[in-house]
């Protein structure tokens, strides 16, 4: 019987092992991005921008032209690239410290200009690479190494809902929040990522997909517990859905 290949590594993914911790969901999201790039047939006409954070080494895994930006500045780097080469598909991939804290100005203004780029925003409610400090997205009462008694809104304010905040702007074309905590969600996440890239290809402006993700290492949980914690705690505060659709 002839062999039929039913599953393979996307072309837009390099053939190396990732450095991510067991149970981390970055790998799933990387793969979804690579699958979408393959399906749209844009591998050789795509430029990605890696953030500072756990995904800083994204450029080792996504097999397209890549930049590695300064902390929080990926949307500015993507803007510079896209304005010179509008024929390229340009995306950033950023964590919550990178995008919602140090890079808050860059993401808001890129979205507000309707910059024709795509942003994949990983929200895992914590700083991963630096060892589990409080992020702008850390939930109330959630313990981190810099809010060891739990996040207190009096001292640190409330977790930022980035997707909803950016959806208040006129210019963005597509904004959605998804998760990859279960296979059923992964399918939806891929649809959203594909829609975001398509929005850019159609010239309909800024697109962002917020992906609720886990960080078992810094949450101090087993991978399965982390997935459960995400569903029980993050989804109620960060509702899944589409907040802005292209005209």
């Amino acid at each position: 019987m002839a062999e039929v290949k039913i599953f393979e590594r996307p072309k837009s993914m390099t053939d190396v092992s990732t450095h991510y911790c067991p149970g981390c969901t970055h790998g799933i999201v990387h793969r979804l991005v690579a699958e979408v790039i393959d399906e749209l047939g844009i591998q050789e006409k795509t430029a990605g921008v890696a953030p500072v954070g756990c995904a800083v080494l994204l450029y080792n895994y996504i097999n397209t032209d890549m930049y590695e930006a300064a902390h929080g500045r990926a949307p500015a780097v993507a803007t510079g690239c896209k304005r010179v080469r509008p024929d390229l598909t340009v995306f950033t991939y950023q964590g919550d410290g990178d995008l919602a804290s140090i890079g808050a100005a860059e993401i808001v203004h890129a979205a507000n200009r309707g910059e024709n780029i795509t942003v994949i925003f990983i929200n895992n409610a914590i700083y991963g690479m630096t060892g589990g400090q409080m992020a702008p997205t850390t939930l109330l009462k959630q313990r981190t190494t810099t809010c060891p008694f739990g996040r207190d809104p009096k001292a640190n304010g409330y977790p930022i809902r980035v997707a909803e905040m950016l959806a208040t702007l006129e210019a963005p074309g597509y904004i959605a929040r998804v998760t990859v905590a279960r296979p059923k969600y992964v399918i939806k996440a891929k649809e959203a990522i594909k829609k975001a890239f398509q929005t850019q290809i159609d010239g309909k402006g800024f697109s962002l997909v917020e992906v609720l993700s886990t960080c078992p290492t810094n949450w101090g949980m087993r991978p399965t517990e982390a997935l459960k914690w995400l569903e029980e705690n993050m989804i109620p505060y960060y509702p899944l859905g589409e907040f802005k659709l292209p005209n």
Binding site: Y59, M66, A76
Partner: protein
């Protein structure tokens, strides 16, 4: 018929960049350089380019990182506090070996300081500013004519070395008007085709581009630093530029750059008219610095007088050049104050005894 046009400095800087083939400008308003972004906002669309007002200098320099990564000619301008904000990005651009031109129309500091001319960013431009072992090729024009020529040359230099080039001007140069002839300046250098390394040519090259500065392996990072240093040594061999006037018979040599050198030239003329032998060394490249003319001063030179619109920054390089052979004195004004022709004349006379 002369092709000279009367133009304001900042606008002339911008036009020189356009004529050098720069089509992409990312800027943020700050006095006294606002005419550069203003000019670009109407001029660049005429040549099919893009002007974009960034949300901050921090974003602006990172837009340059993205744009320069495509291999096209890019320009950004600012004034002192704005350059401080860009310094992190400049460090990344040097690390990733991207070409771009940065104009600093200097104003008085530190802090918010003032909006009037100064030369107090010499250290920032030539010794770092941002983190890590990097260098900016730094050119200091003395007139608007020279500025336009240096700006055109800067794009070639940036691409040849794949390193940012800074044009260190001051608020006088940005705001004054002067007759300029836009001459085509082109270096006869073998500039590598950006398609060999830039973003956007994966299919043609058969290989993707990687524009980055991260290097977690210390041996690799050391190697990368050594490669950069080797490049800086080549700049030091090839890119030293200076003007030397009346040094051969001089008793006192004045060292000054930019607008200050221009004022000093008037002082030297007056001193010469009175029979006093005073010369001038005007560094045109601040990095690499022209140490040699200071090391090779004729035996008759008894004193060097450094004049700056700062509290004394270039003087440190002059001293490194002179190597203690003769005394080096300083006269400076700062905070937006400029030395007058008479003040420099007086300072030189004191040394002449």
């Amino acid at each position: 018929m002369s092709n000279r046009v009367l133009m304001k400095g900042n606008e002339a800087f911008a036009e020189a960049a356009v004529q050098a083939g720069c089509k992409y400008f990312f800027g943020y308003p700050i006095t006294p350089q606002n005419e550069i972004p203003e000019y670009m906002s109407k001029r660049l669309p005429e040549v099919g380019g893009v002007y974009l007002q960034a949300e901050s200098e921090v974003a602006g320099i990172n837009m340059i990182f993205g744009a320069a990564g495509t291999g096209f000619r890019t320009l950004i301008s600012s004034s002192s506090p704005g350059i401080s904000l860009m310094s992190e990005g400049i460090s990344y651009i040097t690390a990733a070996e991207l070409p771009c031109v940065i104009i600093n129309v200097m104003r008085g500091g530190p802090g918010l300081g003032g909006i009037l001319p100064a030369q107090s960013d010499y250290f920032q431009a030539t010794k770092g500013g941002g983190h890590g072992d990097y260098r900016l090729l730094t050119l200091a024009p003395g007139t608007l004519q020279e500025a336009t020529e240096f700006i055109m040359m800067a794009f070639d230099l940036a691409e040849y070395y794949r390193n940012p080039v800074m044009i260190l001007a001051d608020g006088f140069m940005g705001q004054m008007m002067e007759a300029i002839e836009f001459k085509k300046v082109k270096l006869n250098y073998d500039i590598p085709d950006p398609k060999e390394w830039a973003i956007g040519y994966m299919a043609e090259r058969g290989k993707r581009a990687l524009i980055k500065s991260l290097s977690l392996d210390p041996e690799m990072l050391e190697k990368h630093n050594q490669k950069l240093q080797e490049k800086y040594r080549r700049m030091e061999e090839k890119e030293v530029r200076y003007e030397s006037v009346g040094v051969e018979d001089a008793d006192v040599v004045i060292a000054a750059y930019g607008t200050t050198a221009r004022i000093a030239k008037s002082s030297i003329k007056k001193l010469r008219d009175q029979g006093m032998k005073v010369g001038l060394i005007r560094p045109q490249s601040l990095y690499p610095f022209p140490y040699k003319p200071f090391n090779d001063l004729p035996d008759g030179v008894k004193h060097v007088l450094v004049v700056e619109m700062s509290c004394g920054q270039m003087i440190e390089d002059v001293k490194l050049g002179v190597q203690g052979k003769v005394p080096v004195s300083f006269y400076g004004r700062c905070g937006g104050m400029a030395p007058s022709v008479e003040e420099i004349e007086e300072a030189a006379k004191k040394l002449l005894g």
